[in-house]
Structure formats: structure tokens, C-alpha cells
Point group: D2
Chain length 349, copies 4
């Protein structure tokens, strides 16, 4: 791969970083040249992730912009909140393309960021430059961009499930209720009682009700599509499984539209986009049916008794909700087919 | 226990029956005198449930009304749909008290039953006689009754979470959306691809969307409490865990009521009822915190941005959602304290 | 319960302590009068364990020997290694009975303790006074004792499965190989990558191979029973489940003994001891069949091809492997029936 | 892929067949031309496996040798016991290469097959022709063969873990004890109480003790390598997870060989074979570290106290234990690099 694009991954000892590595290792046009960890520089990656033994370049690099610029063409940031706000401008200045998987650059409003994330927002310039990389909706803006704010996991599942209906005016945005569920990997690799096996296993819990930082991200995109401010009810739950997100979404239907009609509307909206699979009318997707893959599967049920539609959207939070969509965005940035290196089937069972 | 009430359990090789056995075995005033199975009569119960070896009367009886009448005072029916519709009148005629854990006698409208269950409804007389045993709400009617229609698992969690607010007029019934999740034991012990470990594990799925037979049961009770017909959106999901139900419920608040106010309203409503525990303001319960017990725990979050309240209610579907509430109803029927034999703590972790 | 024995639990915010609370709460002769935590004194227990809300005395006491002596007759120590070595003598001096669930007082050899636990051993006097409370084997010594070293979880399952055969001289102790598996609750409530849900779920791993601190405990008891030093191979594995231990044990049979003969031998050995259930010949127990209960179930398979017997023994590590056996020991200490308050059925499924 | 090798998969609605499809779909030199099911011919594959929607040729073909011969060059048999014994000769006669993932052609002794499988063995000629495809050990025989008996899942993990030590004479074969554990997918997609979620979840059980049909397969290979008959103790356990096998193996060491020496011995034995990863000295692999991949990871611990070595070997039972090794064998048969299409990283977490 002498002409391969060279990639560096910052935050390689976390789940998001490890997944970027797993996926890039199978990408035909990319070569991983640096795996980076601030806390563990100098140690072998395989000490942290034995599953990667003998698979990729092994010793973790320190976080040094010059070093990265000498080794890589593109950088994936799989870092905790606050890091990329500061780091992205420097990486861009050094001539690197940047794909930020953290939430730092997603909200255009600094005020919103500071309210929901409870920390200082990124500089205005970075926020302006960053393109929100919901590939199937805003992919045209991704092409040619140098800085991508990769969407959050919940927003990806939710927005792909809602946007066609909102855009078509088939549902009343003010009635949208989103009941979302996620596997535990979404909480990251940091330790805490909330991710302790014996606390999570055989348990189902709601968390951050009305307080999740993905709420403004969802509303920002829905408002843009609707053309007016949209406020939603959004609840997150923790499922005793490792991977997977389901958003179950409810809204009042405007006009008369059957389940079949919704199915057709979405198929047209996503025509030619391989990673969104609209299920046959009346069939609902399950999270495992996209596990390990970059697919987002969507199903519908219109209820004549209540006048509401129920929309179910599922993704693998680590792939389509993070690393996979990041690479899909890289493909778009580079002018490659968006599916390059990502057309592997879900792992089932 | 010479004066003990003698109990027979029909359907002892299913999960509901086994749980009645587990709980009654620790009840101070009841003795199990017959465990009954139509398909496995004559075989040892421990062949089907090794965990019960050396614990209860072992050989399974056949289903014979006279035999039961000679051995027992009360009968628990943990039977598939259709059995108790036919069997209950005979058991009553033989002088037995009957607690039906199946869905056959819950719906007062034969039409509704036939529409949602897709089978012939029970005789009008049985339906009229049956008392809907949602203990904390309709317990007064249970006292002195001979025939109990024990509530379904989803309706129990849902109704205990909604009724105080509906009764108080604090939420608009027409806006209620119920997003419910259940562990796999709710599907019973019958085998099928839908309960195959490799299909369910690491998976989260929606099922019977807008078609679940618990919808009319929930609407019947809500309509009764509201004083007018209530129609709801109700979605069921399968969680990769064995026990537990959570109902996450959404409704538009009528008037100004804070999370604290909801907490207080519910504490007053359930005062003196030990099995409903209202969480401190803003805290949400998790299913594991009631696992193995007869508790129903409830929490609230009012969102000023949307004007909606989110109510979370959890139970153990096999206990409070089936066997435990059945015994609570027996306690009420017999004039005992409703908590007799049921005040054990949840099993955690 | 005016004449109830008053119990204090030290380490109430851990899993062992919480299980002592759960079980004592249902004990007819015991009243919990103090729940103690060094790190969280003054806070409500329900803040740490919401499942115990409204169930027991709530505010956590500090660890103060005088305070405990004024409130309690017996103390359960569910504390990390090192605590009870120091604390037990003081509690005994204050006139309290002490049941130590930690490993500090189990090994009679201070040298062994220091080699395997890698910390200073308890004073000689405490070690001499402590009775090793493997109830079904050494229960006679427990009666009248003031200080119990409650057996470890792995040793309980393993020793109950091996001792009758070793004592009868039916197996060659030098050939014993123990392949043990445990649920994650055995690791306690402390957080770490090793108990992170996403690391443990869908994973099966071996740990501390040949290095587990339960090895000398097992060998000490086997040597005592065999009458000569016994050295064993013992491997521990982590199972993606919360509760349960299985020891699969292999040994060369001495003489001709069939599976049936082993079954009979064990039934005679454990005659009258309700918590050991020997399975019918050829049937193997599963961990779930004892979950939540104080039972230990054992099965056998003699293989004529190899001349070896395979013995499978299962317990709930938190009950029979910790809190349940501790209360069984309290019953023996007090002269009560050993099953008092413990005869509840396993929770299945 | 005009020059692609054309592949047919018989048994496409089972887990083994689905995994062959998943892996071949990413293979650069192979094109799936027919997916076959006797029971579901004519229906879309995506009705059975929604995760494959829009990914491969969809309508299931009937099982017809002529049809297959016209469409394919190679056939994968992912069929129940008994099918390939009869079918393989016909497929070979039609000019197809055959890779049999079932157990029908693995045992050279028809007597052994009939004793352990309890059904009629395959014809002598087929057994003679079939090459036992344990790729890293007998790969040379695979090259140029037309008929492969793909090894069983347990034998693959076990034999890769034992053969180097047996061949080197470092362990005494008569002392080998194999304690094996498998995820539930190994039981296939057929429904039954033994794979019911509520029975398996939070449970750990032993099954088919001394009776598993993989025993003669393991002994056949060990005997061949040792040069004399080897009899082993082999126990299988069911782990509450979907994928993964661990074999924990015990044997008495002959001579003085440290953990480091074993590590080195195995590294030399498997030099150049990418799919066996020997862990650094003293590190033990976990099943999740190979999940979804074709790797087999191995670790060692020699215990000076007992003179035994403990060897831990892990694979993904559906990949290296079935579909992955089958494709590895196809690669060898075709003269391609054995890693072609299989060098993807494990899916973690």
C-alpha cells in the first residue's frame, strides 16, 4: 500500500479507538501508522487490547502534533470530552485532516454545549469549520471538508429514523418522543459502578432522563431539517448487552400515511445509500441484526387507533454510531465510494 | 400447619407455576398439597425443575377437578390462554377459590378478548364474577371474592405507574405513550426461535408493536379510573435478561406539577401499601432493584422544556407481575395482611 | 422479636454484607440493629443499595467497637482482607460473637497466609480460636464457638464435593484436579477493568492460574481429612453471569466404584443435612438450580475408559459460599436448627 | 470477480451456514452463487436471517446435486449429522470440491462413529478420501484434496493446544484432562429447552460428561501424533454467552520445562501460521479476544508444586471452530495463502 492514506488514531486504548483500528486494518486504501495514547505512551497496544496482538503496529505513541504530522495524513480523535476542542485546531494547522469522534464539535451553539456538557466550548472558528458528518443526510458537505464532527451514537440512530418523515412533513415535530436504549460499550472503557458487570447484568435502567448531552445534538439537526426549532423528549436506557442501540420513536402522523407509505418514503429517501436498510413493511429490526456492521436498519408501524407512527431504528453504536461512520466520512472526504472497506456483514449470532 | 390453607397449582411445569411454588413454600399459612400438569402427570416435578428437588411434594398430579377439590382449598391457574376460561367455572362449582394468572378473565368485554387474543372468550358469568386483582388499586374488591383475574405483567407495572396521575387529573390520558421492556421469562417456558439463547442474547428487539394483548387490559383499567375511554400507544421490547419489566411512560402534564409534586402525590396514593416504593425525587428505579421480590418501584422526571412527565415503573414480572401478586391477592381474599409471606428483599446483585 | 438476637453487619455496602442483610431480614430469631460502613458512615444504606429502601434500618453506622457492643450480640464481618485480622480480637473482647466472612482467619498457618495473601497474618491466638465453619463437615466444632472463619466460596463448593470421597479413600488425593468457575459477584463490588461489563460479558477467561488464595484453604481441609498433606491443581475461571460457582473435579478412582456407588456414598455422608442435595445417579447440577439459595448440589460420572471420576458441585457463591453459610453457622453457634431462616427455594429461572 | 471460484452453501439457515456466508462475502476470490436449504427452499434467506438482507443472493435453492454442479465449484456442507455421509459422494462425483463442516467424515473408524454418534457411518471410501482439515497441523494433506472433513469446534481448540506438547514428548498423554467450555451457538439454531434463554442465561452447566462425540475425534488425532493410543477425560460445559470456546487442559509434565519453555516450543511449532497466537509467557487468553475471528490463542502455566502444566486455548467456535477454518481449508485446497479473506481482527468488546 505505497500510496495508502496514512492514519493516526488518538485514544487507541478506548473502545472507539480500538474499533477504528479494527476497521481500518481491513480498509484497502488506508494504513495505520500511529496509535496514540496520552496515558500509556511507550507501552504495547496489545497489553491493553490483547485481541490486537500481532495485528497492527504495536507501540503506543505519545500525543505530539509534530510527530503525527510527520507520520499521518488523517487523524481520528477518539478522545474524552474537551480534548478535541483544543487539539483539532492544532492538527488542522499542521495540515492534517481531522475526524473527531467526540462530541466537542457537534453543537454549533457554544451556549448549548456549555449548558449540556458543563464545560468550555470549542473556539468559534473550529465550530464553524466542522461539518456534522451524518453521512446519509449531510454527506455532500463532508466531501472536501477537512474537519468532521462525527455524530453521536444516539443521534445517528435517531436522526436517520426521523429525518425523512420530518422533511416530508408527515409527522408533527412537536409530538416526537424518543425512547432510546444502548448497550454498555457506549459508556466507554472507564471503570465505575455504573459499568460494573454485577450491577448491569440482568438489569435494565433509565439514566440521565431529560439531561443527556445528545438532546441538543438531535434537536439541532431536526430543527435544521424542519426549518424551525424542534424540542423533543428523549430518554436513554442501559441494556445488559455490549453493543447496540435502538431508538423507538413516537410521533403523531400528519395526514393519512400507512406503514407501507412510510416504508416507501424512506426507501426513496435513502436510495443508493447502502448502509440504511429499510425493512419490509411491518417488520421491525433488532440490534443484533446490525451488530459489528455499519448498517442502520429501520422499521415502521402506523397505528390507526392513536394516529401515531412508531419508528424503530437500530445501529451498532461502536460502528455506525462511531468508528464506522467516521471511516464512512473519511471515504467521502477522500472522494472514495462511501462503502469502501465497510461492506462487511453483521456478526450473527 | 394443621390449619393451613391447602393450595393446588395447575401448570406447575411452567415458570409462573414454579414461582407460585417457590413463594408458597415460604408462606406461613399455606401448604402446597398438589402440583398439577396435564402433559407430565405422574412424573416427578424435580425432573422438570431440578431446583425444587427435596423441597416440595414431588409427583405431578393429573388435572382432575374432583381430585383437586379433595386436596385443596385454593387453586392457582398458571395455564396457557384458553384453559381457565373453561376450567374456572368448574373449580368454583367444586367449592374452590380460584386465582387465575392467565389472561382469560381480565377483559370484561368478550369482544375485546376475541379481537386481541384471537380465541373464544370465557363465559359472561365468569367474567362478571372475576375481580381484577390489581391489589394496590382494586384490593377492596378482592377481599371476599372467590375468583381473581390476576393482572398481566405489563399492565401491573404500567397501571401502578399511571393510575395515581390519571386519577388526580395531572396528566392528559390522550397523550400517554408507554414504552415497555421485559425480560425473556415473560415469554414462558415454551421453546421457539424467539426465546433461543443465541437469538436473544446481545440483542434488543421490539415485538407485537401496537398488537399486544395487554393493550386492552391497560386501557380498560385506565378508562375506568379516568371515567372515560382512554386509548394508548403501547410498545413491548425484549431485553436480554431473564426477569424484570420496565415501563417508561410519557404524558403531557396538565397544570404545573414538579417532579417533587408527583413524588408526593404517589406517596400519598400508596400510603400503607408496602409493595409500592416511590423513589426519592429525581431518582429512577432499575429492574434489578426489585428482582425476585414483590415490589414495584416508581420514579418521575418532569421536563419543563416539553411539558411532559416521564414515569418509570419496574417490577419482577414473575413475582409482582404474576405469582407474587397472586399470593398477595390470596392474602386479601383470606383476610390476612397482604404482605404475608411476601416481605422478602430483592435478590441483588 | 423482643428476645431476638441482635446482629450488626460490618461492610454493609459490599455484596457480601448486602446478602447477610437480605437473609437476616427474613430470619425469625434475629434482628438487624446496625449496618456499618467505614467509608460511608452517616449516609443512608439505600443510597448505596436502592433495593433495600424501606426494608432495613437505614443509616450506616461508623465502625466503633463500643457502639457495636452496645447494640449487637453478634457481628458479621464482610470486610476486605486484613480488616478482621485486626478487628476480630477487639470484638471478641467486647463480648460479641464474630462470624468472619473474609479469608483472614481461615488458614491455620500464618506462613501460608502470608505467602498466598501477600499480607501480614492475623495473631496466632485469633487463628487458634477461629473455627473453620464448613458446616456440613466441621459443624460440631461450630457449636459453642465464639469465632467463626466462614469458608471461601470456591472451597465450599470444592470441599463439599471432594471430602466424602477422600475420607472414604475412594479417590487418590494426589490426582485431584479442580477446574472451578465463578460468576462475577465473587470479585466484589469494587470497580476495575476486570469487572467492567463490556470486558466480562460474552467472555470466558481463566485467572490467577495456580495462584489463587483459596488453594491453601482447600489443601488445608483436604489434608486434614486425608490425614496427610494433599497438593492440588486448582484453576479459576470467570463466567459471564452474576452468581454461581461450579467446581468440576477430576480424580483417579481407587478400587471399583460406580457412579451409583458414589451417589450412595455421598447421600449417606450428608444424611440429615438439608443443604447438600446429591443428584440422582448420572445427573449433573447446574449453577442456576441453586441460585439465591443455600443449597450445594452434587453429581458424579465415573468413566471406565479412564478410571477417573468427574464430580460436579455447584453453589450460589454469595449465599452458600458466603452469607448463607455464615447464617447457617450462626444457627449452629446458637443451638438452633441449622436451616433456620434459610429454607427458601432457589430463584429459577 | 469473473474468475472467482463459485461457492454453494448447503444448510444456509443454520448458524454454521450463515457464518460461511458472512465470511465468503468478504473473500476476494470467491463468489457465493447458491444458498441452499432443504426445509426452506424458495423463500428469501433474509426471512430467516434479516441481518443478511441486501447482502447476498437471496432466494434459497433446493438441494439438487445437478443444480449445484451447474452453479458452483465448491460446496460447503453445514448440515446435521447424517446428511453429508450420504451426500458427499454424489457431490464429488459431480465434480465439486466438498468441505464438510459436519462430523460425518472425521472419524476414520466406522465403529467409533457408530458408537459415539449412534447412527450409521459414512461409506468407507468417503472416509478414506476425506482429509481431516486441522489446518495448522495437517494442512499439507489439505492441499490438493477434494474432500475435507472440517474439524469440530472443541477438537480444534483442544488439539491446537495439545499437539505441540504431545509431539515433543513434554507431557504424559495418559494424564491429559480436558475441561472444555462453549458458548450456546455451538448447539446450533434448533430449538429446545437446552437452548431456551431463561434456562441458559445466568447459568453454567456441564453436559454429555464422558459422552461427547468429540472425544473420539480428539483421541484419534492425539493418538496419531503420539504414535500410540491415547485416551482422555473430556468434559463439556455450557457458558451463558453466544460465541467462544475455551479448553482448559491439564497434564503431567515429562522432564523439566518451564512456562517460558512451553511458550517458546509452541511459537516454534506454529511459526508462520498467523492464526495461532501464542501469548506472552504467563498470560492467559480469553474467548472474547478471538471473537468473530479465525484466531486460536494459547497460554500456559507450569506449576512446580504439582508438576503439571495448565494449557488454555480459545477460539470462536463459529469461525475457527467451523466456518473460518473451512474457508482456511478452501484457501489451502486452491493453493491460495491460507489467510486469504480471513485476516480480520476480532470484534472487541
Amino acid at each position: 500500500m505505497s500510496n495508502a492514506v496514512r492514519a493516526a488514531i488518538i485514544g487507541a486504548t478506548g473502545y472507539g479507538g480500538a474499533e477504528v483500528i479494527r476497521l481500518l486494518q481491513a480498509h484497502p486504501f488506508v494504513q495505520i501508522t500511529s496509535v496514540i495514547s496520552t496515558s500509556s505512551a511507550g507501552t504495547p497496544l496489545a497489553d491493553h487490547f490483547p485481541h490486537l496482538q500481532e495485528i497492527v503496529v504495536d507501540i503506543l505513541d505519545e500525543l505530539n502534533v509534530e510527530l503525527i504530522a510527520g507520520k499521518a495524513d488523517v487523524v481520528f480523535l477518539a478522545t474524552p470530552a474537551g480534548v478535541s476542542a483544543e487539539l483539532s485546531p492544532k492538527l488542522l494547522a499542521a495540515g492534517l485532516k481531522v475526524i473527531d469522534i467526540s462530541g466537542d464539535l457537534r453543537l454549533k451553539s457554544r451556549e448549548d454545549y456549555e449548558k449540556w456538557y458543563k464545560r468550555t466550548a470549542a473556539p468559534e472558528a473550529a465550530l464553524e469549520q466542522a461539518v456534522y458528518g451524518l453521512a446519509e443526510v449531510f454527506g455532500d458537505e463532508v466531501k472536501g471538508s477537512e474537519l468532521i464532527a462525527n455524530p453521536g451514537c444516539y443521534p445517528t440512530a435517531t436522526l436517520l429514523g426521523l429525518i425523512p418523515a420530518v422533511k416530508a412533513g408527515w409527522i408533527d415535530p412537536s409530538t416526537i418522543i424518543i425512547d432510546a436504549k444502548s448497550g454498555v460499550s457506549g459508556a466507554g472503557r472507564g471503570v465505575g459502578l455504573g459499568t460494573h458487570y454485577a450491577e448491569v447484568n440482568e438489569n435494565f435502567s433509565a439514566y440521565k432522563v431529560n439531561k443527556h448531552q445528545h438532546i441538543p445534538e438531535i434537536e439541532q439537526a431536526l430543527s435544521r431539517v424542519a426549518g424551525h426549532p424542534v424540542v423533543t423528549t428523549f430518554t436513554t436506557h442501559l441494556v445488559p448487552m455490549t453493543r447496540g442501540i435502538m431508538s423507538t420513536m413516537y410521533a403523531t402522523v400528519i395526514g393519512e400515511h400507512s406503514t407501507e407509505a412510510f416504508t416507501e418514503l424512506y426507501r426513496q429517501f435513502y436510495e443508493g445509500r447502502k448502509f440504511v436498510r429499510v425493512r419490509n413493511s411491518g417488520k421491525m429490526p433488532a440490534t443484533k441484526e446490525v451488530s459489528g456492521s455499519n448498517y442502520c436498519d429501520i422499521g415502521f408501524a402506523v397505528d390507526e387507533r392513536t394516529g401515531r407512527v412508531t419508528i424503530v431504528s437500530v445501529i451498532d453504536n461502536v460502528v455506525k454510531g462511531a468508528a464506522g461512520q467516521a471511516i464512512q466520512n473519511l471515504n467521502l472526504m477522500m472522494g472514495w465510494d462511501e462503502t469502501t472497506g465497510l461492506l462487511f456483514a453483521p456478526v450473527y449470532p
